[in-house]
């Protein structure tokens, strides 16, 4: 089994393997089999489209957590003209699970804050697998308040398996750090655009997720409890996670339907990781347009809208 492909993508993987094989044969024999290869490529593309047109919520969760899924830094390093990372919460430390700093988006200064899972074992450990501790959320808060002072829009990129559940997290007040962000973001006097790029897990996600616009990438996921956690509580086994994902409605399309998500941002066929450059371009265009759109709204009006929106959740 090819680890780059998810279980439900195996038919695509098989086709791609065949294409690769043919290419090798072609190289060896100088036979013109490019027609055949092109046909297979077209078939693979259509197969991908067919499979992705009808993903189950659990399959979407798998794509959102794909090991090759673009992470916050993949976007940050490609989407902006400049980026100066800013570190530390000024109280305890610098949480590597949250990356933030001043960047330029199409020439305009913005404050970008993203949860970073890290790729490869060493970096995953360094980033604590994208599970922020209180100092991470407090760093985010510090940067957001700075953005308010210097009139920069805030862009957040959400991608976390959750706030870190550990002794030190609790000792330093992980609950308070999340709650404080929710409170302050509700009235921060600068536009805030939040985008779920991968996995938006519960309190750890919403802690940088309150703003004027909430985007979700097409195959990202957002939930109050992980499907495994939900399944464990209800069915006492994580094997029922697919059922839990179904019941909770964890996909961008479902959450848009519920009015919680404003925009779902389309991904290239087969998911963001199949074509990073295309994905970066799509996201960059979308965020640029949204920054411009929000810049045109007087700040008091924007804040009133943000507050009314918050008050309306569930109505």
């Amino acid at each position: 089994m090819n680890l780059n492909y998810l279980d439900f993508e195996q038919p695509i993987a098989d086709l791609e393997a065949k294409i690769e094989e043919l290419q090798l044969v072609g190289n060896d024999n100088e036979l013109n089999i490019s027609d055949e290869i092109n046909k297979l490529r077209e078939k693979s593309r259509r197969l991908t489209e067919t499979i992705y047109a009808d993903l189950t919520p659990w399959q979407v969760v798998k794509v959102a957590r794909h090991p090759q899924r673009p992470y916050a830094l993949d976007y940050i390093t490609r989407m902006f003209d400049e980026f100066d990372e800013l570190h530390g919460d000024r109280h305890f430390g610098d949480d590597k699970a949250i990356v933030g700093g001043i960047a330029r988006l199409n020439g305009k200064p913005v404050m970008v804050i993203g949860e970073e899972k890290g790729r490869g074992v060493t970096e995953k450990v360094y980033r604590n697998f994208g599970m922020p501790k209180p100092e991470g959320y407090r760093k985010a808060l510090r940067l957001m308040e700075m953005a308010e002072r210097f009139k920069m829009p805030v862009l957040t990129l959400i991608d976390t398996p959750g706030a870190y559940p550990g002794i030190d997290s609790e000792e330093r007040g992980i609950s308070e750090s999340i709650a404080r962000n929710l409170a302050v973001m509700s009235r921060l006097r600068t536009p805030i655009i939040c985008t779920v790029i991968g996995e938006g897990s519960s309190g750890g996600a919403i802690a940088i997720g309150v703003g004027d616009i909430l985007n979700m990438l097409q195959y990202s996921t957002y939930f109050v409890i992980s499907p495994e956690g939900c399944a464990n509580i209800i069915w006492k086994t994580i094997d029922k996670a697919p059922l839990a994902a179904e019941a909770m409605g964890v996909t961008s399309s479902k959450l848009k339907e519920l009015g919680i998500v404003d925009e779902t941002i389309p991904e290239p066929p087969g998911g963001a990781h199949r074509d990073l450059d295309a994905m970066v371009a799509i996201l960059k265009n979308k965020l640029s347009a949204q920054v411009d759109q929000l810049a045109g709204i007087p700040i008091d009006e924007l804040l009133a809208k943000r507050f009314d929106r918050l008050m309306s959740y569930g109505n």
Binding site: E170, I178, M311
Partner: protein
């Protein structure tokens, strides 16, 4: 009864105990120390075990009843009912779970809000009903909390919340997560308007409620030995694969780590909160007059 007491009280004591004619239900065992407790006495002590000081879990109505002045209470946002937007179904339908919880508790959802007074100081007080779906926060809890806080904001009278909850309500999925943002936003409005908000954590307070409304008080209070935290002890133990230290996430731990301002025993709650609010608002207190005979 110990052998020593038996000797002190003389013969016949044991026999009398065995042929007790006390009616069923007049006694209750302390869930912690197992001491048999005389109900009327227990109630007078605000359901705190006089033997071991265990603060026995109490419902939202009783909580507010022993906290507020008896006169001039008015329930707020009682018309807000739970909504099953997702048509959530697991082994049972969420709708049926709600109906069962409503039957069991006599409440429509897990938060009760009252406008009333504390030693004649007008305020709005809310309390979580833990017996209703583990006191979990979904739309109805968030909405009731928000509407009640709005009354505080509009009338510039203090806001108090007694929390007791397992966290966000899974069956309302992301709608329940959004209640964290909603309740935090209205608390921030109180803060900006200089309206005091006192958060009182009673055993237990976890998850989405801990990470929103419970930790945002101008003053955070916990009852003795209450547990409060973001992640439950099981989750943490599974993650770090270590045993947790004794007293982890208990009130004393929270005080030690700066999460709360004080630990206040239930029997002192009324006096303490009244004193704090009087100083925070500059309004005088007045003991309520006991009305002994109805007109």
């Amino acid at each position: 009864m110990s052998w020593l007491e038996r000797i002190k009280k003389g013969p016949g004591t044991l026999k009398k105990d065995r042929t007790s004619t006390v009616p069923e239900g007049l006694w209750r065992k302390c869930p912690l120390c197992n001491a048999p407790l005389y109900r009327p006495e227990l109630e007078k002590n605000a359901d705190v075990c006089p033997k071991c000081d265990h603060h026995i879990r109490i419902g939202a109505r009783r909580r507010l009843d022993i906290f507020l002045d008896t006169e001039g209470r008015q329930e707020l946002a009682a018309d807000v009912l739970p909504v099953d937007r997702l048509k959530f179904k697991d082994t049972k339908k969420y709708k049926d779970r709600l109906i069962a919880a409503q039957k069991e508790t006599g409440e429509k959802d897990a938060l009760i809000a009252l406008r009333g007074s504390l030693k004649r100081l007008p305020l709005v007080a809310t309390a979580f009903e833990f017996a209703f779906h583990g006191g979990s926060m979904g739309y109805a809890v968030g909405e009731r909390f928000t509407r009640a806080a709005k009354v505080s904001l509009d009338e510039k009278i203090p806001f108090v919340c007694f929390s007791a909850t397992g966290g966000a309500r899974m069956q309302e999925a992301l709608i329940s997560l959004m209640q964290m943002a909603k309740t935090s936003a209205i608390i921030e409005r109180l803060r900006l308007a200089g309206v005091p908000y006192i958060s009182i954590m009673t055993d237990p307070v976890y998850g989405g409620v801990s990470a929103s409304l419970a930790m945002l008080g101008d003053i955070n209070i916990a009852e003795p030995n209450a547990r409060a935290g973001f992640a439950g002890p099981n989750i943490i133990e599974q993650t770090i694969r270590q045993k947790l230290p004794p007293g982890f996430q208990r009130s004393e731990f929270l005080l030690e780590h700066g999460a709360i301002d004080m630990i206040v025993p239930r029997v002192e709650m009324r006096d303490t909160v009244a004193r704090l609010l009087s100083n925070m608002t500059g309004r005088p207190l007045q003991e309520q007059v006991e009305i002994t005979s109805p007109a």
